[in-house]
Subunit: 271 residues, 2 copies
């Protein structure tokens, strides 16, 4: 396997330039169709799931564990090479702070939209711009069994390195749809559209039966919440009962409450 390792020290190398751009812009992720998965944890997930990498990037200062994972990941794909970079060059390319010395360039795969509406649970993100929030939302949805995740045009790109890192590997267990207009949800999912709204609606905990069919939970941005357009497309609005002197929950916390209330009801109903 050692012959797969190449040493790169020039910041003008075409690969180094591409990796730097992947970390800097969502547009680069779309243009190249790849992204950078940084860190030991994502490397482990990629190996476990057998995701074929385009390239494996190591810092010369990386740990032995990172080197072992690099070999395992490169072994998944005949064409994949390991590139070892001086620590200073690696840090320039690395899209996250406190990198752990291993990055894997993997395909940034968006799912094809269903031709017919499918009766599946989904999560819809309406203008959620914070990368950490979007990654956590993907992780929470997959953990709750909701594997179709769609986002409006103004939501942070699912496959940017920061969102991928916050997702902790959940991306690879999800079907991700970008640039989805709220009106498109009807043609994609045969499911009730439930809007989480801090301003009003039915009581999530006290309203019976909403979990009995497939649902698309719609979550809005921090601050403004769901857009008027999204609220208009919702079949029902739901409110989480919180203390009176609080305005709202963080979007990640609100999604966790809604999606796990759905999961709880279905788990208990199946017994």
């Amino acid at each position: 396997m050692q012959q797969k390792t190449f040493y790169l020290s020039s910041t003008s190398n075409e690969h180094v330039k591409r990796w730097r751009r992947l970390g800097e812009s969502t547009r680069a992720v779309k243009k190249f169709g790849t992204t950078l998965a940084e860190g030991l944890h994502l490397a482990q997930v990629i190996c476990e799931r057998g995701i074929a990498p385009r390239a494996v990037i190591l810092s010369e200062a990386c740990s032995r564990q990172a080197r072992e994972l690099a070999l395992a990941a490169a072994g998944l794909e005949a064409q994949a090479r390991i590139y070892e970079l001086p620590a200073a060059v690696y840090d320039q390319v690395c899209p996250v702070e406190n990198g752990t010395g291993i990055m894997i360039e993997v395909p940034a795969v968006l799912a094809d939209r269903p031709m017919q509406p499918i009766a599946a649970d989904a999560l819809y993100l309406d203008g959620v711009q914070d990368a950490g929030n979007v990654g956590t939302l993907i992780r929470t949805a997959v953990a709750a069994g909701v594997r179709h995740i769609a986002a409006s045009r103004d939501t942070a790109g699912f496959w940017t390195p920061k969102v991928l890192r916050a997702g902790m590997g959940a991306h690879f267990a999800a079907r991700l749809y970008e640039n989805v207009d709220v009106e498109d949800l009807r043609s994609m999912f045969a499911a009730r559209r439930l809007g989480a709204d801090a301003r009003g609606g039915r009581d999530l905990f006290r309203t019976p039966g909403w979990e009995e069919t497939a649902t698309v939970w719609m979550m809005g941005a921090e601050g403004p919440g769901l857009s008027e357009k999204a609220l208009a497309a919702a079949d029902a609005r739901f409110l989480i009962d919180i203390e009176h002197d609080c305005e709202s929950l963080n979007v990640g916390a609100a999604a966790a409450v809604c999606l796990f209330e759905q999961r709880r009801r279905r788990l208990l109903a199946s017994h």
Copy 2:
């Protein structure tokens, strides 16, 4: 009120130096006993709750709304002055990215520990180091009605500007205890200690009765989870039922699920 406004342009001014240090180090927050609340939202919360500020800091590039909030905040405390800074100096001092041009220096208040164990719900953070996570956890706990929040020595400081900003004002509705050893919980709270543990334990949703007494929910750090010491001090461990191909939830999502399952059970029991 206008006579309260002072113009500061020197980065060597003692106030400017203090504000910069408050943004940079937890130690400075402890030393000065104050912190910086950045942004329009926190300024509104401070005005609504009548928190007496030490100082109000404006960027000369701030909005009219920021100016109005600055006057309202400064009006809460006879000694409080408004300091207006050139935009470049403000940005140097501002502890968060994309600042909105208003910061308020407020007391960083930690609660006195109860002399006798109190029968109150609490949240205990065991080594949670990410500032955004800690702020979100405070916000989620307060929204769920859990207003006593304690943290181990290795958890991010509650009153650092980044944690305060992520808390979105919930700090001012909570009683916050720092440097709390897990062994101290017994002398502070007459409540069952419930450890959230991704590795095993009772099923949160299927186990009856745990919400019937006061609880201290204990949440561990990303990655390692609860420390051995914390697990040993727990009266019971609880597991959230998630999909088999996921390892765990983000600590903020896990806390939202546990604390709102507690809230849901109590809300429904009271009817």
